[in-house]
């Protein structure tokens, strides 16, 4: 069988459908259990519905961005496998890197690659990204229990200690963004200013309903602004 005969085969569609349904099912289980516990600990249904509305509305735009990457990946690897990869663990940049590593390891070229090459790409994409999922099975519970114990010993230090993890992520993520300047910096600033303006609108005009859509709106407006900044700066 050739590369693309396997890549677009019915069997692969079936396997992928099972995989996506599994992840969908797991998400539903998480949702139901978290919702039930949320009600138990005193959240109102309105609180939780607000979280759902905000999370769902916000997720649309980044999901569409994933679709753009998916279309470029489909051109390389057929429909079902990229569909699976980007519905679950993967990201476009990683998938392309993994496919490239597989091709380089064998010295093959996509245009002339055979069925074995496609299977190799599937293995490389799957194995190389499993580090996070695998290590979380062993260490996530310990990390979380450690954080909880830290908080029980000293509530103040616990709150501060917990927040340092997020600060580390932001330092490493934000600084290159800000230093790179140009459109990246201006887009970041636009998002910040839009969020501030929306925050003022919410508190001044008591538009509490808007709170659920702040992230989605600032994302959309800042993304649109990036086109204008690109045209402006050339």
């Amino acid at each position: 069988m050739s590369f693309y005969e396997i890549a677009n085969s019915t069997l692969l569609y079936i396997c992928v459908a099972i995989g996506i349904i599994y992840v969908l099912g797991l998400s539903v289980v998480y949702f139901k259990k978290s919702w039930k516990r949320g009600i138990e600990v005193g959240f109102t249904k309105k609180d939780l519905i607000d979280v759902v509305k905000s999370s769902a509305s916000f997720s649309v735009v980044p999901s569409l961005a994933i679709v753009i990457g998916l279309f470029s990946l489909i051109a390389m690897l057929g429909i079902p496998w990229p569909w699976f990869r980007l519905s679950v663990i993967g990201s476009v940049a990683y998938e392309i890197m993994a496919a490239d590593a597989a091709l380089k390891a064998t010295g093959a070229e996509l245009a002339t690659a055979g069925g074995e090459m496609f299977v190799l790409i599937m293995y490389v994409m799957s194995i190389c990204i499993l580090g996070g999922v695998t290590s979380s099975i062993f260490i996530s519970k310990k990390i979380q229990n450690g954080a909880i114990k830290m908080k029980e010993r000293d509530q103040r230090w616990g709150a501060l200690g917990n927040s340092t993890f997020m600060m580390s992520i932001l330092v490493v993520l934000l600084i290159p963004m800000l230093i790179s300047g140009g459109v990246t910096l201006l887009t970041w600033l636009t998002s910040l200013v839009v969020t501030l303006i929306l925050g003022i609108l919410i508190s001044k005009f008591k538009m509490s309903w808007l709170k659920n859509f702040v992230l989605a709106l600032s994302l959309l407006i800042a993304m649109a602004s990036s086109v204008a900044w690109t045209n402006l700066l050339g």
């Binding site: 692969l12 996506i20 599994y22 992840v23 969908l24 998480y30 949702f31 259990k33 516990r37 949320g38 959240f43 979280v51 759902v52 999370s55 997720s59 649309v60 735009v61 980044p62 961005a65 994933i66 679709v67 753009i68 279309f71 429909i79 699976f84 519905s87 663990i89 990201s91 390891a105 064998t106 299977v119 190799l120 599937m122 799957s126 194995i127 190389c128 996070g132 999922v133 979380s136 996530s140 979380q144 616990g158 501060l160 917990n162 340092t164 600060m167 580390s168 992520i169 932001l170 330092v171 490493v172 290159p176 600033l189 998002s191 709170k211 992230l215 994302l219 800042a222 993304m223 086109v227």
Partner: protein
């Protein structure tokens, strides 16, 4: 009602079993295809092709688990299975905790993060599914240069707004931390200096740099907290300091 420990244990169990299932599926699909089409590439070829990438991705994977677990709680498992952490799951969870004023690492934060990440995962799967079905009419629209430009700036567009909440003094649950930015000064200088050498290098070493900055910020925070340079205000402190309550007590 179940205790907090019972709930947490149950969610960790669901997450661990879910993760094992996901690993089996991810490795199972290529194996089924290899057997069905007699196209197994051989263990040595798989090893050769994966070794280089594993060396890069294992530190990134560990840094993700170490840094995201205290923020996302038990939904870390679903987050890692469904991917797109920085550009989707982490912002969704932070935003949900922000609008409900819940603290990261608390049980309530865990619950809210669970609902947000599950909703976001379902939404992404549905959006991708719909777009694949409508691929023919959608493809030209998504190929527009403006759309391509806008999507390439998704991270700054996301983190501009999120920075206000994430770097402000309010950490949720009514807790305020004053002066916590002091702890990031040294790591920020180090990362900035590296950026001036090469931004691509910093972006490529993101996982390793997070692993380095976590202990730097953690222990600096601890030192400054002990010296009183960083102060943590709990909701109970504000109630005690509320002058209206004091006057009510006196009356």
């Amino acid at each position: 009602m179940r205790t907090k420990e019972q709930y947490m244990n149950e969610m960790h169990r669901v997450g661990r079993i879910g993760s094992i299932g996901a690993i089996l599926i991810m490795l199972g699909i290529p194996t089924i295809i290899a057997v069905a089409f007699d196209a197994f590439p051989g263990f040595d070829t798989i090893f050769m092709a994966t070794a280089g990438l594993l060396a890069v991705f294992i530190p990134i994977a560990i840094s993700e688990v170490v840094s995201f677990t205290p923020v996302l709680g038990t939904s870390i498992y679903l987050t890692l299975i469904t991917g797109n952490v920085m550009n989707l799951k982490l912002p969704t969870a932070l935003n949900a905790m922000d609008i409900t004023n819940t603290e990261q690492g608390s049980e309530k934060g865990d619950i809210i993060s669970g609902i947000a990440i599950a909703t976001s995962s379902i939404m992404t799967i549905v959006v991708i599914g719909v777009c694949v079905v409508l691929m023919t009419p959608l493809k030209p629209l998504f190929a527009e240069p403006a759309v391509q430009t806008a999507t390439s700036y998704i991270l700054p567009a996301l983190f501009g707004g999120l920075s206000i909440g994430a770097l402000g003094s309010n950490v949720g649950g009514g807790i305020k931390i004053k002066g916590r930015m002091k702890a990031i000064i040294v790591p920020a200088i180090v990362v900035s200096a590296l950026c001036f050498v090469s931004i691509e290098l910093v972006e490529g070493l993101q996982g390793i740099l997070i692993l380095i900055t976590i202990p730097m910020i953690y222990f600096t925070s601890k030192l400054l907290y002990k010296k009183g340079k960083i102060t943590v205000i709990l909701p109970s402190d504000e109630v005690n300091d509320d002058p209206t309550l004091e006057s009510e007590k006196e009356a």
